[in-house]
Amino acid sequence: MQGSNTDYLLAVENLTVSFDGFKAVSDLNLYVDEKDIRVIIGPNGAGKTTLLDLICGKTKASEGSIKFRNRELTKMSESQIVLAGVGRKFQTPSIYDDLTVFENLEISYPKGRTVFGALTFLRDRAVIDRVEEISEIIFLKDMLNKRGEYLSHGQKQWLEIGMLLIQDPDLLMLDEPVAGMSVSERLKTAELLNRITSDRSVIVIEHDMKFVEDIARTVTVLHQGKILSEGTMDHVKNDPKVIEVYLGH
């Protein structure tokens, strides 16, 4: 099925994926504006992570279309999707333990991504400046020479966000960015997100309602692979269907 062309940054239409008959995402429509901050919430197994997997190409859709700036993503490889401008952070912090913070960031720097490019890549002033700039945003400026494995859990989450920022994506997808963080780390992360979302769109999956209220503009509630409710935080909170799902059982 061909999705229609829209003014939206991301237009997901009639998206379905099934694993052995189980529909993890079923006939889903989702539209994200430029510079939107969209938070997706929903009970476990609602299909949130699968939706991100589908958008970034980790899982192939059974049906439906995903258009990013009117380019069809379902036909593209993972790396092409990244080059198109979609960045994705994983649920568990996914960084390179054996490399330093500097090198972690450098690998995501959008240059030298082909085999030949990587062989001839030079760590010039521009690279170093950019890495330092990002490291400051993610509170890791003093740790550039530390190996990834020595970071705390929260610092690893920030580092992975930094690795996405350095790619400068137009759409940033974050899967539970504050999971396992302390209260103070959580506040810092909210501040970080508010800062970095000023010039790009962000999709965040999160369970922490306090955090959601801090950052969200629009909230989408997923349930059993379908959209249950969508709107502002207040609207969603008072939607009887949502209350039913969260409190009814």
């Binding site: 390179y96 030298g112 991504r113 085999v115």
Partner: protein, 377 residues
């Protein structure tokens, strides 16, 4: 530091100098030509070990089929030398003069088409470099594009080297069968069997090895080397940072294959024959242990590891042949269980700090050293 990490640190240059002096000066002076030829033979395996360090140590891709590429290089060279040795003059007692003797014994009356290019020396050199690359590319593209890795890749590469061995042994008329291609005498008219020739070939081998070492050093300290390490750890993260992971794996696998083939060609030149015993599963896995003993993340270690294991093998096999397999088996188990970083790991934890202090280099910030992957405390 143009590449990110320096090409060679001060102690790196020192290591290189020590290696070069040891191989180019000390050994030729103290060792008799026969033993020097033996060292030369060992060093041809070090080419394979270098490739394995890049592929397995850095990239996490364990190939159990490197014997394939070693054999391909060796056979290409052997075919050229065999054709030179089978001139019409030398083979006039055969029923078909001018073809290799084993073909004649197998009632083959004309040179098979795939042998013809090996009449030319330039084409032979090209074949030594290109054929393994093509094979590695095909295997790599088929496997890595479909995200096959780890033990599956090891099993498939092992199967491929097994297939190649069976093929060579079975097609006796075209390949010389289980005896291999033997009785090689001259290279472009130059007798390669004399002590003098052995010595010269030894130097050629060492220089090629050091060239390969430097190339490997360049690759592993470029951004590509760091991407390999990153891929080994979190393949998905690299993929979702915009890299097509398969291409990097294919590249490093091809490079390792070419190294192995160069080693194989040098083997044929120095030893004077090539046979399927160097192609199959057993030698392929044995070559992995050379890299493992040296330290799977250390290029220098690969060379020392190869030498050490082979010296041990030769001296054991001379005095207690039945003990060697016990020793080799224990080596496999010991390196994996007790010294996963091999000789290089031992060196790094004992001697290296002193060397660095002597050289006055500032302690390197804990950096892109893939070898220090200790389990998390």
């Amino acid at each position: 530091m143009p590449n990110g990490t320096t090409f060679l640190t001060r102690s790196g240059w020192l290591n290189l100098a020590i290696l070069a002096i040891f191989l180019l000066v000390v050994l030729p002076l103290v060792v008799d030509p026969f033993r020097l030829n033996l060292v030369g033979k060992y060093l041809t395996y070090a080419f394979v070990a270098l490739g394995l360090v890049m592929c397995w140590g850095y990239g996490g891709i364990l190939s159990l089929g490197q014997g394939c590429f070693f054999g391909l290089g060796g056979y290409c060279m052997a075919m050229y030398l065999k054709l030179e040795a089978s001139s019409i003059e030398n083979t006039k007692i055969q029923s078909t003069p001018g073809i290799p003797d084993f073909m004649d014994w197998n009632q083959i009356t004309a040179l098979p088409a795939f042998w013809v290019p090996f009449k030319s020396f330039p084409l032979t050199i090209i074949a030594i470099l290109i054929l393994p690359t093509i094979l590695a590319f095909v295997i790599g593209a088929a496997m890595f594009k479909r995200r096959v890795g780890g033990v599956y890749f090891a099993i498939i590469t092992q199967a491929i080297s097994s297939i190649l061995t069976i093929l060579i042994v079975g097609q006796q008329g075209y390949t010389g069968g289980v005896n291999g291609i033997t009785d090689l005498r001259t290279l472009n008219g130059w007798d390669i069997r004399s002590d003098h020739a052995h010595t010269i070939l030894y130097f050629v081998c060492v220089i090629l090895l050091i060239a390969c070492l430097l190339l490997a050093q360049y690759v592993t300290c470029s951004k590509l080397g760091r991407i390999l390490v990153a891929m080994r750890e979190k393949e998905d993260r690299v993929r979702f940072s915009g890299y097509s992971v398969a291409n990097f794996k294919i590249f490093i696998f091809c490079l390792a294959a070419v190294f192995a083939a160069i080693g194989g060609a040098m083997f044929t030149l120095q030893v004077g024959f090539m046979s399927p015993t160097f192609v199959g599963i057993v030698p392929s896995i044995e070559m992995v242990i050379y890299a493992a003993v040296g330290g799977r993340f250390s290029l220098f270690g690969a060379i020392y590891g190869t030498l050490l294991v082979n010296f041990a093998k030769t001296s054991f096999s001379e005095s207690f042949p039945e003990l060697w397999l016990f020793g080799l088996g224990a080596l496999f188990i010991g390196v994996v269980m007790l010294f996963p970083n091999g000789l290089a790991g031992i060196y790094r934890s004992t001697l290296d700090p002193y060397v660095k202090r002597l050289l006055g280099s500032t302690p390197r910030p804990k950096s892109a050293d893939p070898s220090v992957s200790q389990p998390a405390e």
